[in-house]
């Protein structure tokens, strides 16, 4: 992943400190990358069950699903998609700058990434609030559900809440880790010892983005 050429160009500025049970730094970096990919594979399967259920529901009860999906805020979803893709862009920027050893720029890009992630959550929160206003929260016993004559629509709405809140939870975790790492990475000498942490975290961040890129068409676009 990380280019060997850039490593040598910037010399001792950027690198990874060897942990004793590995034989070489190269092996250690490979293990870290593969470990994150394995984790992402497992995460993908975590969401796959939800998405597959939503798709099968769409096939078996198209009208009910469309009726429920009409209440989803398409433009908030679309804006959020752009916001998250933007955050992936800034994260890639942070990774590039970390390879070059430009610590200050990297920290700024990381903060921008966290800010975009937070913007996503804020918009998502507003969307939940609008859903609440429209009586689209069937699990609240004191608020009658808007489409109560259509049980399959209720399943779709429940899946929507589980999938988006699980995604939101991942994003919140991501932002927390990102801020903690930004704080660490702003201190001198970080890039000399732990440059690959930025890259590994980048994989996770792009993955959160990817999950939303799957969720948006499956929940919003397909049912318009």
């Amino acid at each position: 992943m990380s280019a060997g050429a850039t490593d040598s160009q910037v010399g001792s500025q950027v690198g990874v400190k060897l942990v004793s049970h590995f034989a070489t730094v190269e092996q250690q970096k490979r293990a870290a990358v593969l470990g994150m990919w394995a984790w992402l594979l497992t995460e993908l399967l975590l969401f796959a069950g939800l998405f597959l259920t939503a798709l099968i529901l769409r096939l078996t009860h198209p009208e009910a699903v469309q009726a429920a999906a009409r209440h989803l805020k398409f433009w908030i979803g679309a804006t959020n998609t752009v916001v998250l893709i933007g955050s992936s862009l800034t994260m890639s920027g942070a990774i590039q700058l970390s390879r070059l050893g430009w610590q200050r720029g990297m920290v700024r890009f990381m903060l921008a990434t966290a800010a975009l992630g937070t913007l996503f959550l804020a918009l998502k929160g507003y969307e939940y609030y609008a859903d609440y206003q429209e009586h689209m929260m069937p699990f609240l016993s004191d608020r009658p559900y808007a489409l109560k004559d259509s049980p399959p629509s209720r399943l779709f709405v429940n899946l929507y809440y589980v999938a988006t809140s699980l995604h939101g939870l991942h994003l919140m975790t991501g932002i927390t880790i990102l801020l903690a790492m930004t704080w660490q990475a702003s201190r001198p000498g970080f890039l000399k010892q732990h440059q690959n942490r930025i890259e590994i975290f980048g994989l996770y961040w792009h993955f959160i983005d990817l999950i939303w890129i799957l969720a948006f068409p499956i929940l919003y676009v397909l049912n318009r």
Partner: protein, 563 residues
């Protein structure tokens, strides 16, 4: 404590002699992993894969005892046909605890978390797993999950059975379902982390020259198991999260009253829980593939086929979950497809059995304790596997579905398979793990007791199920009493067989003869280091063998040789 100076002084086998740098003085000062440090802290905050394996070994043994005691109580209740021993509720809770504890807290972590943890780095010539801290964290995650589940038992138990089927688990059960579900969900993460660690370790940490086809089959089967951990466990995680959401917050996905579908739970559940059978069985197959060549002193027959069969099993097992749902109203087309695919699973399983048998053929057999367990395993696994084919047959399944036939079948696989492999592996690697030998005669007696006790317990259940006794009831027609008493009597023999090793193995830790580096004259890198191994595994750079299972006797194979 000059723990293993003796072992290094009396080594007579080749590999260790090749190592001229084994300084007695260093071993004498307790540099083996057991004696490197003595504080409690050095155990509970260790990142040494060998010590973490022992933490797991102690915990899963405790869970095995809980599971076994509840099984004993279930068998006690079934001695009389009128269900007078316990109330219905108590009986339901007993078999649920037995199932939940045995499946999630013993069988699934049993071999991977103990022997896998201990042996994979040694077998591939690495200093540790790729992520030692994550490895320790996985044990803490495991214990956290265990606490939740034990809390649900202490608070009053759960009565849903280990499968947590809806709508019983969401709408009707008045027991502590949510803490039990939280516990099982958390334990899943411990499996995922262990699997992730193994995959990365096997990919990146192999010693120079240790190519994929020089790896022991034990490593191959653990690789296959780890893939299942990574790909199947998240699906049960989401299924259990949805269950918790429905029960606790009324975000219904399974209850028709909320628009949900109860059969959906079964799909998600079995998408994990059928592959989970191979999480339990594959590591056991790895253990047997190590024991059989060592005690036949013969090269493993058809190494590549055994390796491919492990990956084959791990792949096909993802496409057979529907065979648990033949009578649940799934379409006939789906049932036929799942039936055919389930038959296909028999092929790689049979490849392994034939290869073990062919390895034994014309070998120089030593019937020591590990080999007795291994041979017991092969026999019981064949019986369990063949009855699995009965269950995969649509017409027969209608007849024996949810009867004791199913109970007998999966106990032949899980007890006859996994538990025997676990005990066989424990006896095989005990000298390596502890540096001590147990008393061989006791080991053989226990192996025979377990084999006989197991068959007396579970064979009658095949007949009971065939005659129509349903599982999970403790009231049954009086004509079934004889076979039930026979089964319960067998379980007492089995219990004695389990208690024996606990006594003589613990005894051996203090009073056993000191073990040589390679007491069985076995091959594999783990036998080239002293017993117990040094804290950092290899004192010198490990030399990968050119040929795996390079035993003196070779089969007359006409095909190409392994490289």
């Amino acid at each position: 404590m000059n723990s293993s100076s003796i072992s290094s002084g009396t080594i007579t086998d080749g590999p260790a002699l090749r190592d001229p740098h084994t300084p007695d003085s260093r071993l004498g000062h307790g540099s083996d992993y057991l004696h490197a440090e003595h504080t409690l802290r050095s155990w509970f905050f260790t990142t040494d894969h060998k010590r973490i394996a022992l933490l797991y070994l102690a915990s899963i043994t405790a869970f095995f005892v809980i599971g076994a005691v509840t099984a004993g109580l279930v068998r006690l209740a079934l001695v009389v046909p009128d269900g007078q021993v316990f109330t219905n509720d108590t009986y339901n809770k007993l078999f649920t605890i037995h199932g939940v504890v045995m499946v999630w807290f013993f069988l699934i972590p049993s071999i991977p978390a103990t022997f896998g943890n201990f042996l994979i780095p040694l077998m591939i010539g690495a200093r540790d797993l790729a992520f030692p801290k994550l490895n320790l964290a996985s044990w803490y995650v495991f214990m956290t999950g265990a606490l939740f589940t034990l809390a649900s038992v202490v608070l009053g138990g759960v009565d849903t059975g280990w499968t947590f089927y809806t709508p019983l688990s969401t709408a009707f059960s008045n027991t502590w379902v949510v803490p039990a579900l939280v516990g099982v969900t958390i334990v899943g993460f411990s499996s995922i982390l262990t699997g992730l660690n193994f995959v990365v370790t096997i990919h990146t940490m192999r010693a120079p020259g240790m190519t994929w086809f020089r790896l022991p089959i034990f490593v191959w089967t653990h690789y296959a198991t780890s893939l299942i951990f990574l790909l199947a466990t998240p699906v049960i995680t989401i299924a259990l999260v949805l269950l918790i959401a429905e029960r606790a917050f009324h975000i219904g996905v399974f209850d028709p009253a909320y628009g949900g579908d109860p059969v959906l739970f079964q799909h998600l559940f079995w998408f994990y829980s059928h592959p989970a059978v191979y999480i339990m069985v594959l590591p056991g197959m790895g253990v047997i593939s190590e024991i059989v060549p060592a005690f036949a002193q013969k090269k493993l027959f058809g190494y590549r086929f055994v390796a491919y069969a492990a990956i084959g099993l791990a792949s096909v097992t993802f496409f057979v979950w529907g065979h648990h749902m033949f009578v649940n109203g799934q379409s006939d087309f789906a049932s036929v497809a799942f039936s055919v695919l389930s038959f296909a699973v028999a092929v790689p399983s049979a490849v392994k059995v034939y290869n073990w048998t062919a390895t034994i053929h014309k070998g120089s057999l030593k019937l020591d304790t590990p080999m007795l367990y291994a041979m017991g395993y092969i026999g019981l696994f064949v019986l369990g596997g063949l009855t699995g084919l009965y269950l995969a047959t649509l017409a027969i399944n209608q007849h024996v579905h949810a009867t004791y036939f199913v109970v007998a079948h999966f106990h032949y696989i899980m007890v006859g398979g996994t538990v025997l492999a676990f005990l066989g592996g424990l006896h095989f690697w005990w000298p390596k793990i502890t540096g001590r030998m147990y008393i061989e005669a006791w080991g053989r007696i226990s192996a025979f007791l377990i084999f006989i006790g197991f068959n007396v317990t579970f064979f009658p259940q095949f007949i009971l199920g065939y005659l129509g006794m349903p599982r999970r009831y403790h009231v049954y027609p009086p004509e079934f009493q004889f076979l039930n008493i026979l089964s319960s009597a067998g379980s007492t023999i089995l219990a004695v067989g389990y208690i024996f090793p606990m006594i003589y193995l613990v005894y051996s830790i203090w009073f056993g003869k000191r073990a040589l580096a390679n007491p069985w004259d076995a091959r594999g890198l783990e036998w080239t280091v002293p017993s117990p191994p040094p804290a950092h595994n290899f004192l010198t750079e490990p030399q990968a063998p050119k040929i795996p299972y390079d035993y003196p006797i070779q089969a007359r194979e006409t095909g190409r040789q392994h490289s």
